[in-house]
């Protein structure tokens, strides 16, 4: 079910608050014509605010109440009233059913019955539009009914009557068929995935078996030789199969690869590979583990595969960071680090010997630098905070094709190290700033620091008095309030002198008062009523402004209104306007 995102922010409406709404509602449905009139006037102001967004229920109610008031005033004949009622009723039926209308016109009767509007109201509307006008009696009856309907369906339910759930539950059960179809499709794809996943596991297990065999044989033969034997024929076949599988569903293959027991070795596997567990802060993959998987990874190496692998590894890391599995996250981070290292273009190997270099290159999954999606990598890395994050982050930041500004990098690194430090601050952030004694990483520690300081100060000044340190804390609020400097105030005042305008100099924290509220304003909805007013009538003005006059003086004189059109100086409209103007005096 769709959840509205606007709920939090609220809707802009024409009434100041619920009190104003309630007042209008009460007055609209009162028996007192004066009160009803008051409500109508207020609705006229609402329409001014709403502009084109006035709710049609409000508008229809106002129209019908207007008819009632005029009816009760006794100043109009029955025929006048029928016309008035007729228009109001017709508009109500048309407007209220408008939303029900689909692409194809449907009969009003049916639309109305959906809304619990009886047929006789619709017939009344038909009579008014294209048949014999109904009698006043019917009009009054219709008006009364519709007003009650509006009260029931709109006014009394609106503003926090909590009926929304009822309405939402209606939409259930409509799309049942689609739902079934979708479920079926899902099931099929799921089934397929499971099958290929099984296959991937089988392939990987056979690879592992083969590798273990070679590894054991190799251990027996010669411990010193750093060379792994050439892949056997069986191995080549397995690799070919895996490669073929990767073509179709590399995603599933990677999913299987990063499971425990594969690229993340189990304890038993580690023992048989004779690897001891190392410390988890710097994610450095044991060489044996790397070499174990190297034949496979070298085979699968492609830009797409590497991308996908990195992506999946990061996703995995993110999940792990939540469950805190140290062993697993160490290996995942190790692999990430390894892949990025392969891609590194750093030249820090200047002093190595040829043999060292050869050995180093041997352990690389791929040789050629590939274009990684650095932005995404960076985001993924930051999304998966763990012990190794600072390390990985630094690797990424250094390798980026277009590195970020140095200070940004430092800040990021620092932030990440602060974040990942956790309880044991074992790892040093790679870029340590001097002169930062103990880290202030959270608001609490900041408060703690301040508290200690203020206490110390108090203590120094008045030994023996220990005050409540909380009072000494400055209030942490962003100051949005505009503070005009005395100069600016004086300047503005000087420019406004002689005019009725002034800069408000009241000592008011305006930031506390929302638009539409001023200090001392009552909550009473009738607080803005104007008791006395005067009206002025003005005619169209010459648009030229004071400063504009001098600006355009020459133009104004030399350029009389140029009419090059059809010789007529004044159009009919102009003349009729002039006439109208003359009559006024």
């Amino acid at each position: 079910m769709k959840k509205k995102t606007t709920e939090k922010k609220g809707h802009v409406v024409a009434w100041i608050n619920k009190a104003e709404w309630d007042q209008v509602l009460e007055y609209l449905y009162s028996k007192d014509c004066a009160l009803q009139k008051y409500a109508l006037h207020r609705i006229s102001a609402w329409k001014g605010r709403f502009a084109h967004n006035t709710p049609i229920a409000v508008e229809s109610t106002a129209d019908l109440v207007r008819c009632q008031i005029l009816d009760r005033s006794g100043k109009l004949d029955a025929d006048d009233l029928v016309l008035l009622y007729g228009t109001a009723l017709m508009r109500f039926v048309n407007l209220i059913t408008e939303r029900q209308q689909g692409k194809i016109a449907r009969p009003l009767r049916r639309l109305a019955s959906n809304l619990k509007i009886p047929e006789w109201i619709v017939n009344l509307r038909h009579d008014i539009t294209h048949r014999k006008l109904p009698t006043l009696k019917w009009c009054r009856k219709g008006c009364k009914f519709v007003l009650e309907w509006l009260q029931q369906e709109y006014w009394s339910r609106q503003l926090g009557s909590g009926l929304a759930e009822n309405w939402e539950s209606q939409s259930e059960g409509e799309d049942g068929e689609d739902e079934l179809q979708r479920q079926e499709d899902e099931l099929i794809t799921r089934q397929k995935e499971i099958e290929s996943y099984k296959k991937a596991r089988e392939l990987l297990i056979s690879f592992e078996k083969e590798q273990f065999q070679t590894f054991e044989g190799f251990l027996e033969e010669d411990k010193q030789a750093s060379l792994w034997p050439e892949p056997s024929a069986d191995m080549s076949w397995i690799l070919a199969q895996i490669k073929h599988f990767a073509l179709e569903s590399s995603e599933i293959l990677i999913d299987a690869l990063i499971e425990d027991g594969f690229m993340v070795p189990t304890i038993e596997q580690l023992v048989s590979l004779s690897v001891d567990n190392s410390d988890p802060t710097a994610p450095h993959l044991p060489r044996v583990v790397l070499r174990f998987w190297l034949p496979l990874l070298k085979d699968l190496n492609s830009q797409l595969f590497i991308h996908l692998l990195l992506e999946k590894l990061f996703v995995e890391l993110q999940q792990l960071s939540e469950d805190n599995q140290k062993h697993r996250s160490f290996y995942i981070a190790g692999w990430i680090s390894e892949v990025i290292l392969c891609n590194s273009n750093k030249n820090e190997y200047h002093y190595e010997s040829k043999i060292q270099r050869k050995a180093r290159l041997k352990d690389k999954i791929f040789m050629k630098r590939i274009q990684l999606r650095w932005q995404q990598l960076l985001a993924a890395c930051l999304n998966a905070p763990c012990m190794a994050t600072p390390h990985l982050l630094q690797q990424i930041l250094e390798d980026m094709e277009h590195p970020m500004p140095l200070d940004t990098r430092q800040k990021l690194l620092r932030l990440s190290s602060i974040y990942t430090q956790g309880a044991d601050s074992g790892c040093d952030p790679p870029m340590e700033h001097s002169g930062q004694p103990s880290g202030i990483y959270t608001l609490e520690s900041l408060h703690e620091r301040l508290r200690v300081q203020s206490r110390r100060q108090v203590y120094m000044m008045h030994p023996g008095i220990v005050s409540d340190s909380r009072k000494a804390l400055p209030e942490r609020t962003e100051d949005f309030q505009e503070h005009l400097s005395p100069d600016v105030l004086a300047e503005r005042a000087a420019e406004l002198r002689g005019s009725p305008w002034q800069v408000c100099t009241d000592k008011v924290q305006w930031k506390n008062y929302p638009l539409g509220k001023v200090p001392g304003q009552s909550e009473d909805p009738s607080c803005l009523m104007v008791d006395n007013f005067s009206t002025i009538m003005v005619f169209d003005q010459q648009v030229e402004m004071e400063n504009a006059t001098q600006h355009n003086a020459h133009a104004g004189v030399s350029m009389p209104h140029r009419i090059t059109t059809d010789g007529l100086l004044w159009t009919h409209n102009d003349i009729s306007k002039l006439k109208a103007g003359l009559q006024l005096f």
Binding site: H11, Q101, A105, S534, T564
Partner: protein, 709 residues
């Protein structure tokens, strides 16, 4: 003339030196920015009456100039204002040469990104002209991380199409952005390319503005410039790319009160980001030396501005016309149905004209999509700065403005026309004027268009259309001779005869350019984020009120935090333009609403009580404000407005219209005590009748359905 121009150029150079001074980069970027803004605004106000360019643009390559579609106009200029030409009239031939040679180049180079890429006639020296693609950035762009700016070397004909915002300065050579030519030594210009509009394209024009320089000298100069802006290790790659006909541009991040203010609204954070389409077609190049500056270059898959042949011809014709008639300025009217690209064409035209004249006048007749003001306003502006972004990025106070109060004129056609007439009377006829009209071109809307053409002695009509659907008849001079307007009517055909009788020379005739828009989505309203007209209206208002923010970077202040102005109820009249409101309840409409600040000649004094207008007059409007609150006890209105106090003092009338404050200004108020007024969490739109009046257009009757089948 030449000496005057020379002097002016010196002025330019001086002011530019200040900006270009390497020392300025040592300042914190913020203050430098503030200064720059300040200077830019000063420039606008000071109105330097000078030509921008030393030389007109030269044609990139020769291409015969096509004659405009319909040349009706007699070469003799019937509209000259006597001998008022002055020095301009004696203007030397090289001036007009500039114009015409420029016209040629417009025809060609304005092909812009895409069409350029396909043209074989381009004189390209090194790199292939066209959009700079991902790999190319490695060679041609270098980022200075310390000052956070990027130097980009572009070869002639290369284009950079992007989303985002930045400050662009041309260090060497010349580049063109949306019709405006930026040349080395000129000030920096802010560019805005938000997701809601067609992305901006920077095109390298290549040829050095100073032909006397030898190739080698040019190359050395360009290299020297690159050296000045980049440190030793970073510039190496770039130096090999630079040649005498390359363009070197500097891109810097742009941070203005506008961008900060928009960024403070959660919904608008991505205004300068990628459009959903860019993402869908993955045309963004995310990892380039430009990322981090606030702009994202786009691949070829994202189309920049598409200019049809007719579009270029019209632009070319109009530039020619301005060259011909430097003394009797052309009056250009741009019309067409909704969403055919009027506004974009206007900006392009104005920018192109600004390459040659110090200013262009602009008369806004479209109430809905206003260029320089919030909507609901008619205005006359003097444009001195190029328009390198959509309307909400240049909410500049027009010279004259009239508050109409609604985003369409249909409720009061007479007041609409009267307002326009009184604006027209203020046009000084010394500069070319571009008149923008509304997209309502049917029925009465068309009649109004006819009126405007007749009343304002238009010399050039640009009529845009799209698709095959005929929205309105072609506005040929012959057609106009017999069509009825709302206020004007065709002359009575007297027996005495035709126009050439002597009393009415051929002055009523005008040149018609017909443009057929061919961009994707022409004639349809935009559907992406921030493209709908109400969103654009809100953005314009937010752009307007962003002027309240301090030019120095700092916290963005919500509107309610500003110290308001106050004025007694009896000193200003209040009027509601768009509906009838009961006078005693009028403050319920006015409170926390957008008001137009207007000036009446009549003295307003209400003996201590509010003054209400009985009807809406046509009167000058100087700006907008928010009626922040009403103090009933003391009889004061509180107003928040960016209008300067020296202008505010003249205001004695507050007009309310159907153009309302953006909802987000009311719903997003933070730090307030209690609930904000006029905002509710509990209004349910699920209830019948809770929504606004909604008109379904094109409802199909069941009978019609059968026919269709």
């Amino acid at each position: 003339m030449t000496s005057k121009r020379q002097q002016c150029n010196d002025k330019w150079f001086k002011s530019n030196r200040i900006a270009k001074n390497p020392d300025s980069s040592n300042l914190s970027p913020s203050t430098a920015m503030a200064k720059l803004e300040h200077r830019a605004s000063n420039l606008r106000k000071d109105k330097p009456n000078l030509k921008r360019l030393k030389k007109g643009a030269k044609a990139v390559s020769f291409r015969p100039v096509k004659t405009p579609a319909a040349t009706e106009r007699t070469p003799s200029r019937p509209l000259t204002n006597g001998g008022a030409g002055g020095p301009e009239q004696g203007s030397d031939s090289d001036e007009s040469q500039d114009w015409s040679s420029f016209a040629k180049s417009v025809l060609h180079q304005n092909g812009g990104g895409e069409s350029m890429e396909g043209q074989e006639s381009c004189v390209s020296t090194k790199a292939a002209p066209g959009r700079i693609e991902e790999e190319a950035f490695v060679h041609c762009a270098e980022r200075d991380y310390i000052h956070n700016r990027t130097v980009l070397v572009m070869q002639q004909g290369q284009t950079l199409c992007f989303r985002g915002k930045c400050l662009l300065s041309c260090l060497y050579g010349r580049v063109e952005v949306h019709g405006f030519t930026l040349e080395e030594g000129q000030q920096s210009y802010p560019l805005f390319s938000p997701s809601s509009h067609c992305p901006l394209t920077v095109t390298a024009l290549g040829d050095s503005p100073n032909p006397s320089k030898t190739k080698k000298a040019g190359r050395l100069e360009a290299k020297a410039i690159v050296r000045k802006y980049l440190s030793t290790e970073t510039r190496r790659r770039l130096l090999s790319e630079v040649d005498s006909d390359s363009c070197v541009i500097l891109l810097e991040p742009l941070d203005t009160p506008l961008t900060r203010f928009l960024n403070s609204f959660p919904d608008l954070k991505e205004v300068f980001g990628l459009s959903s389409r860019d993402i869908r077609e993955s045309s963004a190049m995310l990892d380039t030396p430009l990322s981090g500056l606030g702009i994202t270059p786009l691949r070829k898959t994202a189309r920049g501005m598409v200019m049809s042949q007719t579009y270029r011809e019209a632009l070319n014709g109009l530039v020619n016309a301005c060259a011909e008639e430097l003394d009797g300025c052309p009056v250009i009217l741009v019309c067409g149905a909704k969403n055919v690209g009027k506004s974009t064409f206007n900006r392009h035209l104005i920018n192109t004209l600004l390459n040659h004249t110090a200013s262009v006048e602009y008369l806004e007749c479209d109430l809905g999509q206003t260029e320089f003001t919030p909507s609901g306003c008619l205005s006359l502006s003097t444009v001195r700065e190029p328009l390198l972004g959509p309307p909400f990025t240049h909410q500049w106070a027009p010279e004259h403005m009239i508050f109409y109060g609604q985003s369409s004129c249909e409720t009061d056609l007479d007041r609409y026309l009267e307002s326009l007439k009184s604006l027209w009377r203020l046009y000084n006829r010394e500069t070319p004027i571009v008149i923008n009209t509304m997209g309502w071109v049917k029925g009465f809307g068309f009649q109004l268009l006819v009126d405007i053409i007749r009343l304002f002695s238009i010399s050039h009509v640009v009529q845009l259309s799209s698709g095959d659907k005929v929205m309105c008849p072609q506005l040929t001079p012959e057609f106009l001779r017999s069509s009825h307007g709302w206020q004007t009517h065709p002359p009575v055909q007297s027996a005495l005869g035709e126009d050439n009788s002597g009393t009415h020379p051929a002055q009523r005739s005008y040149t018609l350019f017909r443009i057929h828009s061919e961009f994707e989505g022409a004639g349809r309203p935009g559907e992406m984020r921030h493209q709908r007209s109400n969103e654009q209206r809100d953005l314009a208002l937010l752009g307007y009120f962003s002027q309240l923010q301090s030019p120095e970077p700092g916290p963005v202040r919500p509107l309610h935090c500003f110290t308001p102005y106050q004025v007694p109820h009896s000193a200003v009249a209040v009027g509601v333009t768009h509906c009838e409101v009961a006078p005693t309840h009028v403050l319920y409409t006015a409170n926390a609403s957008l008001v137009g600040l207007c000036c009446l000649n009549e003295k307003v004094s209400g003996r201590g009580s509010p003054v209400l207008l009985s009807q809406t007059p046509v009167c000058p409007c100087v700006g907008f404000g928010v009626l922040r609150g009403v103090d009933m006890a003391r009889g004061l209105y509180f107003l928040v407005t960016p209008v300067a106090p020296s202008i505010l003092r003249q205001v004695n009338c507050l007009l309310l219209g159907a153009v309302t404050l953006p909802n987000t200004l009311l719903t997003g108020q933070t730090g307030i005590l209690g609930d904000p007024p006029y905002v509710t969490m509990d209004y349910s739109f699920e209830l019948t009748g809770a929504g606004k009046l909604h008109v379904f257009k094109g409802l199909v009757r069941p009978g019609q359905m059968k026919n269709a089948k």
